[in-house]
Symmetry: D2
Subunit: 354 residues, 4 copies
């Protein structure tokens, strides 16, 4: 931490900063400059609240040098963390899993058909919301526990592991009973109570970046999960707020190599929410792979025109197949590969035969 004094700060003001730092139990190292003096704080263990130093007379600014996160950092662990949500479906290695499925679970026929279509397109996991965070209290809020049961049924039919969102403590326990990976949505990225609850459940977690979250904010929220002992955390870039309403969100693909440098955790891209526009999902899904994403999360619906939510950004099944083909070509161009679809359970029929 570096405490930058105002131009013209007095010796007494500098001395007081030194005294407060030493009182806190750290070393202070004053560094006079041509225009202003700075005081370095040595020994920062990442727990200092710099705000009280900012409050001292003559202080212009407090600059944080030490990163506020620890366990998520690549300085804590050098090698990539591999997150396995089902046999053969691993995030953070050379293979890149594609998770796809509808925004919401609507009924048995829809989710089972969707799962079969994801399989056939080459996806490795099924997404689908049972508990939906909707901006309107009057919108469809998901089928709840019934939706979880239908997801389990779709898994039994297709062998695809399940990624689905939990919104609150009770729901998190129900999701953990059934899902292979618990999703924490963008709006809950800083819901610390939920992070703590889910951190304790011992299941893989997919943590989405909040709409106004910096990379540091995202890593700090992941730190809550690791602090509870759960290291099986997948991060997800899904678009942030920006000033141009041409897209629903601004898909920040640079977040992918940034996170990969700062952290050992895998990061996937969600081009569906990242753009909000169906015809941008394929090019931006490809771009995410090219940027180095460790996976994709994509909305696909058997019949987008009739979807109960997010129809306008959901791919048609044949578009998902095309995305997987193009993602495979891009992955190979950079020395990686797309995770193969897990084998189907014995005795299940495919979508085309079903």
């Amino acid at each position: 931490m570096l405490v930058v004094m105002e131009h013209g700060a007095t010796d007494a003001q500098v001395a007081r900063v030194v005294a407060v730092i030493e009182e806190m139990g750290y070393q202070a190292r004053p560094m006079p400059g041509a225009q202003r003096t700075s005081v370095g704080l040595v020994g920062n263990d990442g727990r200092i609240d710099g705000s009280s130093l900012e409050a001292l007379d003559g202080v212009a600014e407090v600059i944080h040098v030490t990163k506020p996160y620890k366990q998520v950092s690549r300085e804590w662990r050098q090698e990539n963390t591999l997150v396995t949500i089902a046999p053969g479906v691993v995030f953070g290695g050379t293979e890149i899993p594609i998770i796809a499925g509808p925004c919401s679970v609507e009924n048995e026929a829809q989710i089972v058909l969707a799962a079969q279509q994801v399989r056939e397109a080459g996806g490795a996991a099924l997404r689908g919301g049972a508990f939906k965070p909707r901006s309107s209290p009057y919108s469809f809020q998901g089928l709840g526990v019934k939706g979880l049961e239908l997801l389990a049924l779709a898994r039994a039919e297709t062998g695809l592991p399940i990624v689905t969102e939990a919104l609150d403590e009770e729901g998190a326990h129900r999701v953990a009973e059934i899902a292979d990976c618990i999703q924490i949505g963008a709006r809950n990225m800083q819901n610390y109570a939920l992070l703590r609850t889910i951190g304790k459940l011992g299941k893989p977690v997919l943590l989405k970046r909040g709409m106004a979250a910096t990379i540091t904010d995202l890593l700090m929220s992941a730190e809550y999960l690791l602090a509870e002992g759960n290291t099986q955390v997948i991060l997800c870039e899904r678009g942030i707020r920006s000033f141009d309403s041409a897209t629903r969100n601004l898909f920040d693909l640079t977040a992918i190599p940034l996170v990969q440098k700062l952290s050992h955790l895998p990061i996937v891209g969600d081009p569906s929410h990242g753009t909000g526009l169906r015809d941008k999902v394929i090019p931006m899904g490809r771009a995410a792979i090219a940027a180095g994403a460790d996976g994709l999360l994509v909305e696909m619906h058997p019949n987008p025109d009739r979807a109960m939510s997010d129809g306008g950004q959901s791919l048609f099944p044949e578009q998902l197949a095309r995305l997987v083909r193009e993602a495979r070509a891009i992955a190979e161009a950079i020395g990686r590969s797309i995770t193969p679809t897990p084998s189907a359970p014995a005795g299940t029929a495919s979508a085309t035969n079903g």
Copy 2:
């Protein structure tokens, strides 16, 4: 709702849009234009998910004309809602209450002294966090239930009503037992499970705008509270994300007259989080009053240099007194007044005598 077709959309594509709208149970009104055809949807009750119309061939854009919120709207209720958190402390009328106090409740001496200082400065309510949402899992997280008890003690000493934050379902019940007004923080503005829980508690609520929330998002979150039957809702502008790191957040004061036009709910300003800089709190607190704010929420600490959190943006007690004086002058200039401090309980001592 207006469905704008692409330039060159075929008659068949327009006909399909009309058919889908009618199938949904609404009327369709095609409107050919010089460059492109639009189709108006008549009879929208605010429950349509336009996304599936966007998905139809030949559709360029779906424009929402109807606001997605209802009960929070001034079209639903013309007169201002008055929110009373204690006798004489009313938000939404001519009088403007000032809520002040430390970021966190730290111990009995600190919070009781702070409450006395708020009284003497002319504040109408005491704020102080017992449950703190901290970006780091290793930071001080608040005293929890013990903090609530200390707030109750400070109220007993000074007569000031209490505003304090709840972070989760269990905490909300505990906060509701003691607080006069339950705060929902910016990070939880779209924590819909928490909104529903708190909406049912029947206590006044102070709902802070999220860092990436539009005015519509804020009103939609308030709609969750009203949909549970609670109309005692105070909104709060506390700064949003922007590109300039010169301030912690960007204090969006235009939100105040905007909300007041669109909604009947009162809105207050929080210049402490809105700027993050102590020496900007007084001018921006004044500016909030001049913009028409129905209240202020301000951080003040008996000894900011030793605060356990947010010291750098907390006022000194004498600065709070100055802010109240200047706010009073501004309020009078626009025909309003600052709510007087509630009378102290019989037999309590003042800060200076205590």
Copy 3:
């Protein structure tokens, strides 16, 4: 300047940073920390391009401690700069001038009537565009030199000094012949060729903040003017880009006290562009005064419904009169006053008599 090394940077990497700094002619001061080493650069005269230090192996980050601007800084000059655009119309002192008028000069009758209405409402200067920067090449681009002549006529009729925008080098010379203050628009804030040209003209300048400009960017652009020897510079906050389309721009009033702390130059607020909504101009104009603005710049049109540009954000004449009255009350509440309207030239008629 502080060069922060990566965790695990080698001694050789630190030594190379030291060597490069010394080679540049500065002193290097290594500062080992608990987690990482930093190297302070002492003697920075503000001309170093830190980018090449960032490029060295083992460097995590380069932190700038010295501000990049000089002459605009309060460290360069402690007292407020007073900018006088006409006798008695001074920015930066206790008195606050209000500049008002239409977006565009449209014809003689319109601009003379507007000027008379500004006078009667209590304004101190007339604004009006002769050269208009329009986002469409097909929109009305202003009357050009003819517009300047009409502004001169309006000044002759009313005694109000003129503030008008220049868009390019040739236009700047024409504007300088007639105007009392040359405006540089938001879109040209970083048009350095124009800044240099106008800096040499020796006329007062009103420099608007760009839509994506940080406070530092704004001050750096002002530095271009001062570097050419012109210290008569008024800054202007007029709203920046944000994610909420509820307003045309986001009016960043905290910029006012921020600039006043960092710089000796006066700063005014433009609530018309800052909000883009007529009914928000009065509350936000008041708020700007309460935040400490050294002036207001407001759009008013004799007949906004028929304005050739910006009609929707222009005040009606009687609304301007109300804004001035309310601004006066707010100014008095904080110990300042609104600059009185300059006396009219002998023999001119008022709007009501004319």
Copy 4:
């Protein structure tokens, strides 16, 4: 254009809107709705300033249906425009040219060596600034005309066409004499005087997106160039402002497919400015190709540690070679290819032999 009335607007207010629209020479089509009436304006030729309709009593909002640009639109021209800056170096077709070189031209040895290195790495054109827009008036501003001469020399040595920036009218004429493509920088995207001047020069133009420009703003600025008769326009995404300081700008790759749908003009990506971080240039350059970019613009310097500007985001020569290789693999994966390096002039030596 759709004029949305307030809930509760009177018949007289609707009638006045109809009257004003008809007075403007268009047809009005009122459309009563369940909650509010809208009035469609039929026959909009794109020249209406909706602002005066917004100003009418009872109007809630004016929604623009017609795009404000014309000639840049795909509705104006269906096929891609091909922009040829030199024989075989074409933007907008299947082949993708890579433009590379230093931020600034520093001296003959540097720019000639850089050009040779660009050739050998597989680039198709040379970039290098002679006139530099710098945020500080005290920073190196480029070699000016001398820099242009050195670029011409580098072209003569290597056969690479030249892309370089013009900052003002006089400079634009000098740049046009020498360059193969004139760059308009992000800070000048809305410098309309410069757009008009350069639009008349009849040379290919590379127009960079401004830091706060929406896609519509970018296309409107291009419209200025086309309105002067120049259709040889290449657009460039180079990062916009966002709230996270982890990168210099936020590289908005979705802009690429967005622009390609809305316009017939080619668009390239600049990952150097888009990220500001050398080690993000390769992954984000790959991602731009995968998103469909029609070219790349990349900073490379023979010795980045000694660069006079932007050293920290400039690639080393061998990194550029790697980027070209990886871009080639990605391009092939999506059915495109990287433009081959133009043949060298007879009798010139290569970098390695030179």
